[in-house]
């Protein structure tokens, strides 16, 4: 296990997702990468039924799986006030969630997944994922892992170079937004700056990046639905600031 960075790939206008993935795959093989199976990351969100009597805000439990860790279920609970708690558990956790259907109901229509081919290239693992929600194509997510290092700050430059090499697009020099320095509260209740790019990387970080992207795709659908009459101008910025995505290419991405 090493450091993984997840990047959305902007879809050029007039090109289909399958075409782009095919092209990227060919480029990787030409570089010398080898094809090594398939991968799947999926996410299902459970929403707590409102409990007005005790004033508890709506909570969301996101349950994700990553085929790279087939025996684990990853879950992240969002308590509605911005606090997140994450958990890694055995697969059986999925069955336990089904025991709580009275309190937590699955939002089936937002089940989302990224699946596709997995490539190995020296110390790198590259995954070309096409994201689908309810069988509808949503976009492309590129996952790149550098297996020989567990701290992003030490290998970001190299990851970035490989990304630029086969994607053929510019990737910003700054750390991806997930790893950006953020303000956190310490146990003592003080605010502190925390540089996430210096942390030791964990499998949960990969899952959180996926959740971040999946949430963007889901939001996009909600917003896009309301924008049809407005001519679809100026879609929300979906991608991480690290990748230059012209807003026009994002609009209409969700339509087959």
């Amino acid at each position: 296990m090493g450091v993984t960075v997840l990047q959305p790939y902007p879809l050029p206008e007039g090109k289909s997702g399958a075409h782009i993935i095919d092209q990227l795959g060919k480029r990787l093989l030409a570089l010398g990468a080898t094809h090594s199976g398939q991968f799947l990351v999926d996410c299902e969100t459970f929403i707590s039924t409102p409990q007005p009597h005790n004033g508890a805000p709506g909570r969301a439990v996101h349950v994700l799986h990553n085929s790279e860790y087939p025996a684990s279920t990853f879950s992240i609970i969002d308590n509605g006030t911005g606090k997140q708690v994450s958990l890694v558990a055995d697969n059986i956790f999925d069955l336990l969630m089904l025991k709580m259907t009275n309190t937590f109901t699955s939002k089936k229509q937002t089940k989302i997944e990224s699946r596709g081919a997995r490539f190995e290239y020296g110390d790198f693992v590259i995954k070309l994922g096409s994201v689908t929600m309810m069988e509808h194509f949503k976009g492309i997510l590129i996952e790149i892992e550098y297996k020989s290092c567990v701290i992003l700050a030490y290998c970001w430059e190299m990851i970035r170079e490989v990304l630029q090499g086969f994607l053929g697009i510019g990737v910003a020099k700054e750390f991806p937004s997930y790893f950006a320095t953020q303000t956190i509260m310490t146990a003592m209740g003080q605010q502190q700056l925390h540089a996430k790019h210096n942390d030791i990387y964990e499998p949960m970080d990969t899952v959180k990046q996926y959740l971040e992207q999946f949430t963007n795709y889901r939001k996009h659908v909600a917003l896009h639905g309301g924008m049809v009459s407005g001519g679809g101008q100026g879609g929300p910025t979906v991608g991480q600031p690290g990748v230059h995505i012209p807003p026009s290419s994002m609009v209409g991405m969700g339509r087959p």
Binding site: H65, V85, L87, A89, I92, L96, N102, T103
Partner: protein
């Protein structure tokens, strides 16, 4: 190329093909502190893992409950943490015992799930509340797929889980014989009954009728 199957698919595959252990067969009994040495000797003679000294454990069990709408019964989840060593937390769901009187053991659905140490905070955020907690300390034996535990239950002074001041609940040890097996393995109960016979008259392992104990969860 064959595509990867989703985690949900492989889980239902395990359930449908009956290789997911999800039923607990259980017999329980107790023995006085003064006689526990004899039982330990008997178990050492009968069980598999006795090459060295019997395996010990020292666990804190926390039972969390979630009140569910449209249901009188709260959902209970038990979280176990080893106090003496660094091991993943274990979460366990136990269903209601089956009513079938002909079975030689108590049978209830059971799901075990290892988790990272954020589990208690996670459950609290989900709305679970602390129901009760205790410490179990004792010995674990194995005989084939059967597990035998001889343990002392210890009451906890709130906020002092690690403290030595915590006192045993009674002057005896609880003895449990259990197997967690997939659905449809009817011979497990019989196997356990035979083994329980061999522990008589030191300890009388019985199928406990939880309903008769009243308000116990």
């Amino acid at each position: 190329m064959a595509s990867v199957s989703s985690a949900r698919e492989s889980l239902s595959h395990a359930l449908n093909n009956r290789f997911l252990p999800n039923l607990e067969y259980l017999l329980q009994g107790s023995i006085l502190d003064s006689a526990v040495e004899h039982l330990m000797h008997r178990l050492k003679g009968l069980c598999d893992n006795v090459d060295t000294s019997p395996e010990t454990f020292h666990d804190l069990e926390v039972c969390m409950s979630l009140r569910q709408p449209n249901s009188n019964q709260p959902l209970l989840l038990r979280v176990r943490r080893a106090l003496g060593r660094d091991a993943p937390f274990q979460m366990r769901y136990l269903g209601n015992p089956e009513v079938d009187q002909r079975r030689p053991t108590l049978v209830r659905s059971c799901m075990d799930c290892a988790c990272t140490n954020g589990i208690l905070e996670f459950l609290t955020e989900m709305g679970f509340r602390l129901e009760f907690e205790y410490i179990a300390k004792g010995y674990m034996f194995r005989k084939g797929r059967m597990k035998i535990t001889v343990s002392k239950l210890i009451k906890i002074v709130p906020g002092k889980q690690q403290d030595m001041a915590n006192e045993p609940i009674s002057q005896s040890y609880i003895v449990e014989l259990s197997v967690v097996a997939p659905t449809g393995q009817e011979n497990v109960g019989e196997e356990m009954r035979v083994f329980a016979e061999q522990l008589k008259p030191l300890v009388q392992l019985e199928k406990i009728d939880y309903k008769r104990l009243g308000g116990m969860p």
